[in-house]
């Protein structure tokens, strides 16, 4: 009996002594990104009991893969609500993996939105409304993902593209492209941001666009047809003095025009 009591005392001392060490280790691992934030108990409602236990038991990545594959199957069945729900679950389980956020937003902003845009079963007003809602859902997914991964180039680029191509919000697209430029240092994203500023109706943003494009123009390798075309447009809009304008790329041929293709 005496030994059993001793065993209990040792167990309790070990338990009390390990607590600060485990707490320090957990905090260290979370800071260095080796451990994710603890699972939200609300996930329990969406995952099966087995799935939740497995996620708690260190198999989060595996459970996330399974929910992702289930989403894939629902995509084949064109069940958008289910795709959204399962991918939401997937991103909750693995919020630090950018591919899941990117794919979830792609499904909503492109696939689901396009599906509703072309759905002949509903009237035009509802079609447009549903499509817009799904584009906004795609944006919301990316913004949520960027809360976890604020420096992820892929997510910023996808966000910029959705603003540019799907929701037609050039100002926000420009901001997102500038983030990509800040993170990668790749000049073409600064140009993309400028092109988006040109699309706005704000003269202040035109000035910003002009500065960005003028800086790009200084490097010969970046003088793409789109850059020259946009610069010429801005020179007109901002009344840039003739002396400061770039040379006109279009040769003056009487009764003829050469179209500049809108390549990037």
């Amino acid at each position: 009996m005496k030994r059993r009591l001793q065993a209990l005392v040792v167990l309790l001392i070990l338990g009390a002594a390990k607590l600060p060490l485990e707490e320090t280790a957990t905090q260290h691992f979370r800071t260095t990104g080796l451990l994710s934030a603890p699972l939200s108990l609300s996930l329990r409602e969406n995952l099966s009991q087995m799935g939740f236990a497995a996620s708690l038991g260190g198999l989060r990545s595996l459970v996330a893969t399974i929910t992702y594959l289930r989403a894939y199957r629902e995509w084949e069945n064109v069940n958008w609500a289910k795709v959204d729900g399962l991918l939401q679950l997937t991103t909750s389980l693995q919020p630090m993996y950018s591919n899941y956020w990117d794919e979830a937003s792609w499904h909503m902003a492109y696939n689901a939105a396009s599906y509703y845009e072309n759905d002949e079963k509903v009237n035009a007003f509802v079609r447009e409304k549903l499509a817009k809602e799904h584009v906004q859902r795609g944006i919301a997914i990316l913004l949520e993902g960027l809360r976890y991964l604020p420096d992820d180039v892929r997510l910023w680029n996808s966000l910029a593209e959705i603003y540019e191509r799907r929701s037609k919000e050039p100002r926000q697209a420009a901001v997102a492209y500038l983030q990509v430029y800040r993170l990668t240092g790749n000049n073409r994203y600064a140009r993309f941001a400028a092109y988006q500023y040109v699309q706005t109706t704000d003269p202040e943003l035109w000035k910003k666009a002009y500065e960005l494009l003028r800086a790009a123009y200084e490097k010969k390798s970046q003088r793409t047809p789109s850059l020259i075309e946009n610069l010429k447009t801005l020179e007109e809009r901002l009344n840039i003095p003739l002396m400061k304008r770039i040379p006109d790329p279009r040769p003056k041929i009487e009764n003829a025009t050469i179209e500049v293709k809108p390549g990037r």
Binding site: R4, E23, F29, L56, S61, M96
Partner: protein, 293 residues
């Protein structure tokens, strides 16, 4: 100065334990693992290359974790009852072998078996991942060539993209973390089997504590920062003290995503695992030394 225990005796007991477990056909799981890895490696070819490699890693690491935990619990839980049943225990303890040496030998034997199993599975998994990575890369480059966009820059980008999810040394450190977790579970199961009345009891209780241990981080946070009443706090404090925190070894999820395992992280895990091994071994000895055989 002489040691209070004999290392050769412990080693002999450990190797005998390994032989005993091998005779139980416990390593058959290696074959199952290989089938799972190969199947995962070549399943879902329609997914993008990055996702295919991630899928392979997710499934393989999931299987590694599952097998190491199952073997840690089941193999350890079987040891003492089996020795009692075939009377090997009496033969050993009738010789000048202290009981704690017997326990240490058993513990070391299971750890050697788990370590060797994980090593073999790691080798098999690495080979399949490496092969898959090369295949995926070759397919991606061939696709670029077919599109006429196979510039040096785009090939380098594809290589970086695929390489991110490919085979790295860091992944092996994830396997080390799995071993640490299995070692703690082994020591815990051995401790439980020292006072348990049946093998089934040992297995069930060990699994329950292991599952609770995975949620220990939540319990500890509740105990340290929660605003619950004193009774709930007391209960959570007791659970936090009694159960080991398995969550600190669960770095595999993020290692798969490319997070680097630092030396400090490895040190933390080794220190925690060692503390449990020593602590649980002491408790096991205190329980076993009084056990009527």
């Amino acid at each position: 100065m002489t040691l209070p225990f004999s290392i050769p005796r412990i080693w002999t007991l450990a190797t005998a334990t390994v032989t005993q477990l091998l005779r139980m056909k416990i390593m058959a799981f290696l074959l199952v693992f290989s089938v799972i890895v190969v199947a995962a490696g070549f399943a879902f070819p329609v997914m993008n290359p990055e996702q295919q490699l991630k899928f392979l890693k997710d499934v393989s690491f999931g299987a590694l974790q599952l097998f190491s935990v199952v073997i840690a619990v089941c193999a350890t839980a079987l040891l003492l009852p089996r020795d009692l049943e075939d009377r090997t225990l009496y033969t050993i303890l009738s010789k000048p072998v202290p009981r704690f040496e017997y326990l240490l030998g058993k513990l070391l034997g299971v750890l050697i078996l788990i370590g060797a199993g994980l090593l073999l599975m790691d080798i098999a998994f690495s080979a399949v991942l490496w092969l898959r990575e090369k295949l995926v890369l070759a397919q991606s480059v061939a696709a670029l060539k077919a599109e006429g966009t196979a510039t040096a820059e785009s090939i380098a980008q594809v290589e970086a993209f695929v390489g991110k999810q490919g085979l790295t040394w860091n992944l092996h450190l994830g396997v080390v973390a799995i071993f640490f977790k299995a070692a703690v579970i082994t020591a815990l199961t051995l401790m439980i089997s020292c006072f348990a009345s049946s093998t089934l009891f040992t297995i069930v209780i060990s699994f329950l504590i292991t599952i609770a241990g995975h949620g220990q981080g939540l319990i500890r946070e509740y105990f340290l920062t929660g605003h619950a009443g004193w009774f709930k706090k007391l209960l959570s404090a007791l659970l936090a003290v009694v159960t080991p925190d398995m969550g600190v070894f669960d770095i595999v999820d993020n290692v798969i995503n490319g997070e680097l395992v630092t030396l400090a992280a490895l040190g933390f895990m080794a220190a925690i695992a060692s503390a449990y091994l020593v602590g649980y071994s002491v408790v096991s000895h205190l329980l076993f030394v009084e056990k009527e055989l």
